[in-house]
């Protein structure tokens, strides 16, 4: 089951970490609707991660809250992309766009996984993600085609995000087995589909994907190598839980 655990951990950690980052917009969104949007997506992402942690628990791992809040940063398997600070709304929106399309395509694929407990959850989650992707597409288009300043800021954010985003498709040790057992299509196939979906949307927003010769995926997150941002995030996220682990709130 180690191959399935590897897949579940990286996904659950991606979702938990981006869920926490999304929640940091609560109360700070540039307009009320965006405050609500990022807060709602935070709730969805954390709910999705909880469903995956629940499957892990059924495979013998700690129960979801303990697993989410009692590990150290170096035990997390999220891509580094997701732990980066929100920075400004431009970077948050670009990350939301790049991650959510990958997330949608991943769950679409997993809905047909041969591992039924994951397929069942994926069939539910993929429908909910439609709204995340709609939201991202609307804002990418609005800001990319907005005024000179919004366009320039979105392009800069895209340039800064790109190599981190490619790091989402870092392969794990069990990649070949996951593919052979029809559990997951594999990161390379997912990345190819992701590129073909996002390219026309980025072009329509009048933005440019960095030239392919400059693509250098930032790897390591899946193996527990992280930026200092994750430690800060984990400390803050788990602060209350660690006061009294196991308490009923």
């Amino acid at each position: 089951m180690e191959h399935i655990k590897e897949l579940l951990y990286k996904m659950a950690d991606d979702l938990l970490v981006i869920g926490h980052r999304n929640s940091e917009w609560t109360g700070l969104g540039p307009i009320l609707e965006e405050d609500i949007a990022f807060s709602s997506m935070a709730q969805d992402k954390i709910g999705h991660s909880q469903a995956l942690f629940q499957i892990l628990h059924e495979l013998g791992e700690p129960e979801p809250d303990t697993n989410a809040f009692m590990r150290e940063a170096k035990q997390f398997h999220n891509a580094q992309f997701l732990e980066l600070q929100n920075d400004d709304y431009d970077f948050s929106t670009i990350r939301h766009f790049l991650f959510d399309h990958a997330d949608q395509l991943r769950f679409d694929n997993l809905a047909n996984s041969s591992y039924e407990p994951l397929a069942k959850v994926a069939r539910k989650i993929k429908g909910e993600l439609k709204y995340h992707v709609f939201h991202a597409d609307i804002w990418l288009n609005k800001l990319g085609n907005g005024n000179e300043q919004s366009h320039a800021r979105m392009q800069t954010a895209l340039n800064n995000a790109w190599n981190y985003a490619l790091g989402m498709f870092e392969k794990g040790d069990y990649e070949a087995q996951l593919i052979a057992d029809n559990i997951f299509e594999g990161e390379q196939s997912l990345q190819n589909r992701w590129l073909s979906v996002i390219t026309p949307i980025i072009e329509k927003a009048n933005l440019k994907i960095p030239a392919e010769k400059d693509w250098e995926p930032i790897l390591g997150g899946r193996k527990g190598y992280h930026t200092e941002n994750l430690e800060q995030l984990v400390t803050e996220m788990s602060e209350v839980f660690r006061i009294e682990p196991g308490a009923e709130w």
Binding site: E33, K45, G47, E128, Y131, H135
Partner: protein, 161 residues
């Protein structure tokens, strides 16, 4: 011995904690009722949204109701075996939403498109001349809209596949 039909009708009074006009049965989130013996009932539920924070509370409400009608051994669990989608709302459920001032979700054909979301029917005046302002609302299951005819904001219970 109590029948499954009697359990279903007893559960009709258990309402959604966020939409008090709507029963959980009409919402379509109770997916299985089994009488497993004398005074022994098993109920399966499924959330509208995976991250719905009300699901534990709703499990407890179902268990409380079963206790009220005298069931002694009660098991209520949440599963994704038969995942919820918005077409599972009953006709009466759709009416209840409207009564609560929410636009009911349009029936979908297995896919949610921008077109489906864009021109929902205003629950106040029935106009289709409306815009979606944002796909996210006060709870995960609602989006926010504006009616260009009666000039009022309204919420829609989101269609979900």
């Amino acid at each position: 011995m109590i029948t499954e039909k009697e359990i279903w009708s007893a559960l009709e009074v258990v309402k959604d904690p966020e939409i008090p006009t709507l029963s959980m049965v009409d919402m379509g989130i109770i997916t299985k009722v089994e009488v497993r013996g004398e005074s022994n009932v098993y109920v399966e539920m499924t959330p509208t949204f995976t991250g719905c924070p009300a699901i534990k509370m709703m499990e407890n409400m179902v268990a409380e109701r079963l206790k009220e009608i005298g069931i002694e051994t009660i098991q209520v669990t949440t599963t994704f075996d038969k995942p919820w989608n918005s077409n599972k709302l009953t006709e009466r459920g759709l009416m209840c939403l409207k009564k609560h001032g929410l636009a009911p979700p349009p029936k979908h054909e297995g896919e949610i498109t921008m077109e489906l979301l864009e021109h929902s029917v205003c629950p106040h005046c029935g106009s289709k001349n409306t815009d979606m302002k944002t796909p996210f609302g006060p709870t995960l299951c609602r989006s926010m809209h504006y009616c260009n005819d009666c000039l009022q904001a309204f919420e829609q219970f989101k269609p979900v596949v």
